[in-house]
Amino acid sequence: MGYLLGIMTLICCNIIVVIGLSLLTGFTGIFSFGHAAYMAIGAYSAAILTTKLGVPFVLALIVAVMIAALAGRLIGIPTLKLVGDYFAIAMLGLGETVRLLLDNGGKLTGGARGFGNIPGKTAFPIAFVIMVFSVIVMRNIIGSRYGRCFLAIREDELAAECCGIDTYGLKKTSLTISAAFGGLGGALFAHYITYIQPIMFDMAKSTEIAAAVVFGGLGSLSGSIIASIILIGIPEVLRPLYQWRLVFYGLLLVGTIVLRPQGLMGGREFTIQGLKNAAQWVQEKIPGRGKGEKR
């Protein structure tokens, strides 16, 4: 039971990070392959605050989120003028830079040996409540005037600009919010796992986050959530297969790209009606049942 709760806590942390990137990539149309950097910034800030300065957990979370958001803002100012792939590459560089900074942080970060003795404050209920809260906040952001502007930028930046939308400013806002969610996920993660090390936030982690967003379907919040659950859950379910599980993980991703290039949800949101429609579709496909057999 403890093991299962642990996995679920990890999933909650990951969902927060993934919906953060979902806003940037799925809804604003800006690709980033360095999002683990914000997670690292959040994780290390919170860990230093609670462990070395004795700051209460909740306050540390808030400060960590603000630091991550500030980092996103500052990085956004020069890099968001870059278009398309160039921004993704800049973020890739950022991811590596942050990792190397933490690697060489001396006593403050513990360097490559890692940062231990973090109080294990992230119990499952806390992580779950914060995750649900984050999802609600994100849903409201996407449904707001800002959210519609983000979508307009994703659809056609020039057109958005011609409508009078401050695209550069809003892209910065999107990155800031996205980084804040990354920081929150990272801070929770650090206080669950109690030991962090820079290598945990390397390019592979960034790719994993980006993969979850694409896997779930760009422009779908529920898709991102479902994808996080599957992509964290599958390696655990497949644990009996030892190192083969990564092969299955890869196959799952390749299979999705081939069979469902638009991602699991393909830009739509998860609804009860949608589930009913899907169930009906499956029934029709199964021979001997449903409308498929009626002639």
Binding site: A152, E155, A159, A160, E161, C162, C163, G164, I165, D166
Partner: protein, 241 residues
């Protein structure tokens, strides 16, 4: 004077697209810019609209300099209808027009604007619930112009509105420009379709490799032998006959 461009030079990296170009637009005019591909016509529009280009020189609108930020210029009352329409394909016609009035906070004014756009382009009213991508080329162009009008501009910048349209539609859309002008808007039109553009406009500029080589009344330029030869295909026609 409504808009004054003075010694404007624009660069794309090392390539110079506009070379110390000066021009002016007065209230209520229809001005057209004609010229060959790569003459710098679209660049001029982009510079006026504030699409962050690398540039020197000054652009003043109603006596005050324009900042190189598109959302600011839209606020000041300049709307760009970009080349290639750039409508939101996944949104309905109505939603596209709502996007155009992004800066308009007053719902009453929005409704009036919407009605006047529908009045100008009845086709848009008929198709208001259709998504943008399902419209024909001409309707998309109407939508792009309508969206531009929704921001209540004083100056409308039109970049190649005849691009990819059937000749019949081109005349239809050009007639609308006259109507828009009569509604009190000043229009700067960039066109390859020189004959119709010159016939429509009060004044016109001829652009070649980033410089203005000729300017004058639309009618006069239409009659100018050099312009006829270079942009209206007069000589070829004579040879063909």
């Amino acid at each position: 004077m409504m808009l004054q461009v003075k010694d404007l030079s624009v660069f794309y990296g090392k390539i110079q697209a506009l070379d110390k170009l000066s021009m002016e637009i007065h209230q209520g005019e229809i001005i057209s810019m004609i010229g060959a591909n790569g003459a710098g016509k679209s660049t001029l529009l982009k510079a006026i609209a504030g699409l962050r280009l690398q540039m020197n020189g000054s652009i003043t609108f109603e006596g005050e300099p324009l900042v190189s930020k598109t959302h600011e210029t839209v606020k000041r009352g300049i709307a760009l209808v970009p080349e290639g329409r750039h409508i939101f394909g996944n949104l309905t016609v109505y939603e596209n027009l709502v996007m155009g009035s992004y800066l308009q906070k007053d719902k009453k004014v929005f409704k009036e604007d919407l009605e006047s756009v529908y009045e100008l382009f009845p086709r848009l009213f008929e198709r208001q619930k259709q998504t943008g991508s399902t419209l024909s080329g001409g309707e998309q162009q109407m939508l792009a112009i309508g969206r531009g009008l929704m921001s209540k501009p004083k100056l409308l910048l039109l970049d190649e509105p005849s691009l990819g349209l059937a000749p019949k539609l081109v005349s239809e859309i050009f007639k609308k420009f006259e109507k828009i002008n009569k509604m009190g808007l000043t229009i700067l039109l960039v066109e390859q379709n020189a004959r119709q553009a010159l016939a429509l406009s009060h004044r016109a500029y001829v652009l070649q490799t980033g410089r203005i080589i000729k300017q004058g009344l639309g009618k006069d330029l239409l009659a100018d032998p050099e312009v006829q030869e270079a942009y209206l295909g007069a000589k070829q026609k004579a040879a063909a006959v």
